[in-house]
């Protein structure tokens, strides 16, 4: 592969590797990276993965679009549903889902409502979110913001729109969040996961070209790593060629 691997391509590959054949899942609101990951997984190792739960089944877009709520992005699509079926899917849950927000905190909670102030007197009012249920009715979800700074990775979010691990195992149990919740976080800089005992976020690997110290500098809370942090396995030739030739023909992930 000639061109350098872009941070978004690295994110897509990390996510695609974790999606299994036969699973049911959907991309969520900020769809570019998740849809690319789903499409790549279907091309590579998960031909029976079903895209569903957001009112369409198995879309075949000719290229990547920033939103899946666009008939162009659905392209040829096997079937459509409505919000009535979405009501049911939200209760039954999916295998996987994706989220990102204005703020993400050390326990994987996500804020899309307000930064500063209060809900009805906000400093910055965010967009809110439509579906708050897939994060805990689904087996697991992934956090994949396309920006990673000390401003959007904070110790504690101002408002929990999407619950992650709340404040740890006890709070999660008390709120009856019985599924896995956020499995890991992929950003343009690194992969982060959660300490199984405390459910606090920690650095798992850093993408090629950056360092653990650099990631820490761009994170608003202590990541608590010691020693050498591994490098995220870069895309294989196979992964990269299929991603560029079949999933992202227009190079949106490199733009």
């Amino acid at each position: 592969m000639s061109a350098a691997i872009s941070p978004l391509e690295q994110m897509v590959v990390v996510l695609a590797r974790d999606l299994a054949d036969g699973e049911l899942g959907a991309a969520g609101a900020a769809a570019l990276v998740p849809m690319a990951a789903i499409a790549l997984a279907r091309e590579l190792h998960a031909p029976n993965l079903t895209v569903g739960g957001e009112m369409f089944f198995n879309p075949e877009p000719g290229r990547l679009y920033p939103s899946m709520l666009d008939d162009r992005a659905l392209g040829r699509c096997e079937a459509a549903e409505t919000f009535i079926e979405l009501f049911g899917h939200s209760h039954h849950g999916l295998d996987f889902f994706f989220h990102s927000g204005l703020q993400h905190d050390a326990f994987g909670n996500i804020n899309l409502h307000h930064v500063g102030g209060t809900l009805h007197a906000p400093g910055i009012r965010g967009p809110g979110a439509a579906n708050l249920s897939y994060c805990h009715t689904s087996t697991r979800f992934y956090i994949c913001p396309t920006v990673h700074t000390a401003r959007n990775f904070v110790e504690k979010v101002d408002f929990i729109t999407i619950p992650g691990h709340l404040s740890g195992p006890e709070a999660k149990r008390a709120a009856a969040l019985t599924n896995e919740g956020p499995r890991f976080v992929v950003t343009p800089r690194a992969v982060l996961d959660f300490d199984p005992a405390t459910l606090r976020m920690r650095l798992k690997s850093v993408h090629a070209g950056t360092t653990a110290e650099e990631v820490q500098r761009h994170t608003g809370f202590e990541l608590g790593f010691s020693g050498d942090v591994p490098t995220t396995p870069p895309p294989t030739d196979d992964e990269l060629s299929i991603l560029r030739e079949r999933v992202d023909k227009t190079g949106t992930l490199r733009a």
Partner: protein
Amino acid sequence: MPVTCRKVPDRVSSTTVVLRKFPANSPVVYQGNRSIGATTHTMDGQTKPTRRSKVTGLQDAAHLARDALQERPELCLGGLFKQGRPVALVRALLAAGAKDLHVYSSPGAGYDVDLMIAAGAVEQVFIPGVTLENRLCPNFRSAVEAGQVTAHALDALTVVGGLMASAHGVPFQPIDALRGSDVLKHNPLIREIDCPFSGRRIHAVGPIRPRVTFLHAQESDRWGNLRHLSTMIYADQLMARASDMVIASVDRIVPDEVVLDDPARVTVPAHYVDAVGEVPYGAHPTASFPNYAMDEDHIDAYADLGDAARTGDRARLDEYIARHVTGPKTQDDYIKAVGGAELFARLEAEARKE
């Protein structure tokens, strides 16, 4: 308050035979035989009353909606984000002078709600996600941050469940998938209840009954049988069944035979629809697939004006509203104002591209 499915006859239908939305066990009030305007002559020379067309002009539809919303300000909008939104109806309503609206939608909205807020027509927003997707809604943000508009914290299941309760004629819809979010502490539409079967604490949402719902579909016959030809149809069918009054814009009014030849293709039966208008490009700048794509450039340019207004330069936003909302007297005027045939040829081509 008792929940009733009975549809209050609206002005547009007050002279017609209304046999709809009655629960099976209610007395059916037959209003026929009164003041029916038109008659036709049959072969044997007898006269019989004719069925009333629901085809309505954009301004008449807007006045109908405005008057109804003065009774109760709950307006609901079909489509989702940048697809299938009844934007021409929204503009006409704004031009007719609606105020203090409580706006509902399928769980995601953007441009149209932001425009209504920019025009000063909104008091409360009951929509879980308000965003242009690629950027935040500038006027929504400004108004909520300034305390001029209340944006309730809600989720998709509350809105869909509330519409379900209304459509189905039941006093509430149970929801058992709301946990862990701060939205639960602020959501004004839900209550905690004990599940009568499991004993577990679950949530309930009461009926959401919009006074007026605006929909956009691709086709209708003159009776108001709507046909969505887009891939997704969002919550449009649910809203139609949940609302007191339903007004739709369509790209094309089709001959009766088109509907009769393929009844399974009707997405919203005329029974639920009070008025329908053929409004070319009536969803612009949102999409009406498969006929035309969303106009992202228009929405982005609008959002730039909203962002400028946030930093004190409100003049160009006001100019936008004058040029697109209050200025055009007809949809043709609007089409010319936004770019005319050349623009729409491009959006049509974009929609056809696979």
